[in-house]
Amino acid sequence: MKNLTAKKLRDQIASGQIKSLDAVRNIFERIEKYEPVIGAYISTFKEKALERASQVDKKISAGEPVGQLAGVPVAVKDNMCTTFGATTCASKILQNFHAPYNATVVEKLLAADAVIIGKTNMDEFAMGSSTENSGLKQTVNPWDTSRVPGGSSGGATASVAAGMCFAALGSDTGGSIRQPASFCGVVGLKPTYGRVSRYGLVAYGSSLDQIGPVTQTVEDAALMLNVIAGHDSSDSTSVSEAIAPVCDYLTKLNEPVDKLKIAVVPQFNAGADQQVQNALNEAIKVYKNLGAEIIEIEMPHLDYAIAAYYVIATAEASSNLARYDGVHYGHRTKDPQNYIEVYTKSRAEAFGQEVKRRIMLGTYALSSGYYDAYYLKALKVRNLIRGDFTNAFEKCDCVMMPVAPTTAFKIGEKVNDPLQMYLSDIYTIAANLAGIPGISIPCGFDDNELPVGLQILSPAFTEDKLLRIAGMYEKHTNWYEKKPPIAGYK
């Protein structure tokens, strides 16, 4: 069962070959075995999951129609609100916070008859690239437990990689799905901004945040996107389907991509480690052999993406995180002398260092006298980057580049050097600034047997095509079949 994809498991459950109950039991056996090492989960819901699985099984044996994820054990990142369990964002400030409502994506998973087995670890409030900023626990990379799983959705990608769930939902503000997916050798898709409802996703950078799937295969990513995509009247920034219709990404997956034209940005890619570049070049060769045309382009403003991102994201974060003040919910300091102390002490005690750093950065960027020089300028850079992509997509179907400049790095290697850590987002950030979709798929290994990811970026609301392009590669390679040895895979 552990070698099944979510799609295959779903089909076998729906056809009665496998019981969801068995699949969930099996997953919890694996969790009990590997979680103490990997540390992917902040919370798990065994009882609830078993109960739900048997409900789905009953539905199936009664011949009732079931959803697209019928009986499939899935996990969600712990920044999506659930009425069951806590929603912590891996922060001490929300450690005991129980949301009074389900995020829209959670409702959609449940409506598709998925079995939510747990909530995964992350960098606190999704701020980080290694999951080391979790205020609650450490997650390690299943391929090498001395290394980070990437971040901020490191719990989700480690969990999928280690076979502790069949698929997961992560969130991506500057690469937080794609970068850990590449570090853990799984597929990670960041949909177009507005494709998936953010309602119930605890905000980090609201204009950049997007929920997306973390899966074993491209096909599974299409399946998950089928379930979560679509307009939500509770999210004003989710795009109306009149403007950008949602399609059946699974059915579309098998349509061939004719005259595929791929762009690469040689100057930009030169910054990545040689082994990462090698893997990228090999991947592009595969496409070439499949008949794709490769062109080289320039995207002059990508160099400014990190600077713009860390102004915009932190500015929004400084405002989004203002609500965690100890007054209404979450951690409150003991014995405050006045209400100001409720704020200052509660926040000082419960926010981690990186969160504090970003709140301060963002507050500064929005302060009067600095707004124009930082925030406004960053918005202008953002527009230029959007323009770079618009120009690029006039010439090609997609842009390919590395996901991260390196493979998974050692735990502790970059924690004390935030700027170095920020640089690990260099290839992923631009997609968030431009609002376009991007996917990371496994494309090989470095000398340390660590997975490398290939990133593909395509125009807004062309997830169907993006998935088809990714699927072409997957069909002709077998990287996705390789599993980390640690988790009982051979």
Binding site: C81, T87, G200, S207, T237, D325, V327, Y371
Partner: protein, 487 residues
């Protein structure tokens, strides 16, 4: 004493609560006096992950008000976050509008006591969400009630065009009438639907030199009386202060004061208005609002003749008194009812009297609107015509009006049933007059002799006729007969 003159200069910031059913960015009911924290949801509680969705009706109401304030309505407007920490503000930022408000550069005409009007400039009017309420009870803690959080507020900022407490009050009252007329706010002062913050200073001319006193902002006034008095008080206080210290307006010496309703004085709250850094930036959770011409036209079509204009028209066209015209235009339903009654052929002055003297007395007793009386403007017009052509007396009209409200029946039928139709048949009345004259020779003599008892005697004879006809004689016809008989 040196030659000294001064002028009060006042600009106003007004918060008007719009009367939408639900809040500005969520579906919670806007309701006054509900159990604390019972009208809340994840959105207005600022729960993690919740997102605001604009209430379209609130936006349309705000645009209506902007149009009525003669503002320019830009086709593009957006939402901004205004950051400050306070326990009644769950997100610690307020969704408001900063540099692109939904309306700007307008004016409002206010009535002056002289009967003239004065134009007061409107700088802008924008939408924002209200905060909750901190409740300070005993003990070393406070409680927060978030029912009010997220209620739509229209913030209106005027130019400093007012020059007296009376003018400030007139603007406030006119604005109340305006928003009620538009149906965009109940503007109930008791429920805090209108809150005022005047900015006040003086322009002083002494020995030919001009001085300006430091600007004082008085916070959170919620009655017309407090508003007017605080302005007057503050003018005097600033004059005294100037004479004592000579302090004049300069950078950074704007102060904030509060109004003590019991002592009837302003009290210092913040000495130097620190330039508050609200760190405004566009709210990424909301999309900008882009008006289309069709949408704007549709909103425009909901506007009506505005109250002051209507009031002036009633005075000019119908020769009503300014007072009566003011009463009729105090709220839209009464004014609309009056207009309909005139259209149905009612004589304006008579309809006005019926409405102001009887109709509004009943609505006041019942605490309802004229429409809730379930009588038609046409029937009131008919009733007015019956008075006009002497079918009934003016005093009977009141009784019939009340009966109409009770029974919902037509005035002519009620007049018959209640025996209130006046006897105007001259032959019939003449025989009654003859009888009265015959029975009261002394009074007749008083009249014919023309002495100082004449007036009283005439009244007595008229009274006798009325008594014999049970009050149904048409007094006009009776006087004519009396005049014919005894001069």
């Amino acid at each position: 004493m040196a030659d000294l003159q001064y002028k009060i200069i006042v600009g106003l910031e007004i918060h008007v609560q719009l009367c939408t059913k639900s809040k500005m960015f969520c579906g919670c009911a806007v309701e006054f006096g509900a159990e604390p924290n019972s009208r809340v949801c994840p959105v207005c509680l600022g729960m993690p992950g919740s997102l605001p969705v604009m209430n379209k009706q609130a936006f349309e109401y705000a645009v209506m008000a902007g149009l009525a304030l003669n503002c320019n309505i830009p086709m593009f407007t957006k939402w901004d976050r205004k950051s400050y920490y306070y326990p009644d503000l769950p997100k610690n930022y307020q969704i408001s509008q900063y540099d692109l408000p939904l309306s700007e550069n307008g004016y409002i005409e206010i009535p002056l006591e002289s009967g003239q009007t004065k134009r007061i400039g409107i700088i802008r009017a924008h939408l924002e969400e209200d905060a909750g309420k901190n409740v300070h009870s005993s003990g070393n803690f406070s409680q927060v009630d978030l029912n009010r959080t997220g209620t739509p507020l229209l913030e209106i900022v005027t130019k400093p065009d007012m020059n007296s407490g009376a003018e400030v009050r007139a603007l406030a009252v006119e604005l109340q009438r305006l928003v009620r007329f538009l149906g965009v706010s109940e503007a109930d002062m008791q429920k805090g639907h209108m809150r005022f913050e005047p900015n006040i200073n003086l322009k002083i001319t002494r020995n030919g030199t001009e001085y300006r006193t430091p600007i004082v902002e008085v916070k959170n006034l919620n009655s017309f009386r407090a508003l007017e008095r605080s302005v007057s008080y503050e003018a005097q206080r600033q004059l005294d202060e100037f004479l004592e210290t000579g302090v004049v307006f300069g950078m950074g010496n704007k102060t904030t004061r509060g109004w003590d309703d019991e002592k009837e004085m302003t009290v210092l709250q913040r000495e130097k208005e620190e330039a508050h850094d609200y760190r405004y930036f566009p709210d990424p959770d909301l999309v900008p609002v882009e008006l289309t011409q069709e949408w704007l036209d549709e909103i425009k079509s909901r506007l009506c003749e505005l109250p002051l204009k209507k009031q002036l028209r009633y005075v000019q066209e119908y020769k009503l008194s300014d007072y009566d015209a003011g009463v009729l235009t105090a709220d839209r339903s009464t004014a609309d009812f009056f207009d309909e009654a005139i259209k149905a052929g009612g004589e304006p002055k008579r309809v006005c009297n019926l409405l102001t003297q009887t109709g509004l007395k009943i609505t006041k007793e019942k605490n309802c609107s004229i429409n809730d009386l379930h009588i038609s403007p046409k029937s009131v017009a008919d009733l007015a015509s019956m008075v006009e052509n002497s079918t009934i007396s003016a005093s009977s009209a009141a009784a019939i009006f009340e009966a109409m409200v009770k029974t919902g029946r037509q005035p002519d039928i009620l007049a018959q049933e209640l025996n209130l139709v006046q006897k105007s048949d001259a032959d019939e009345l003449e025989s009654i007059v003859d009888q009265v004259l015959a029975e009261n020779a002394e009074a007749v003599a008083d009249v014919t002799s023309g002495g100082k008892k004449e007036k009283k005697a005439r009244g007595f004879l008229m009274g006798q006729v009325m008594q014999k006809t049970k009050g149904q004689a048409n007094p006009k016809v009776v006087s004519e007969i009396l005049a014919k008989k005894i001069g």
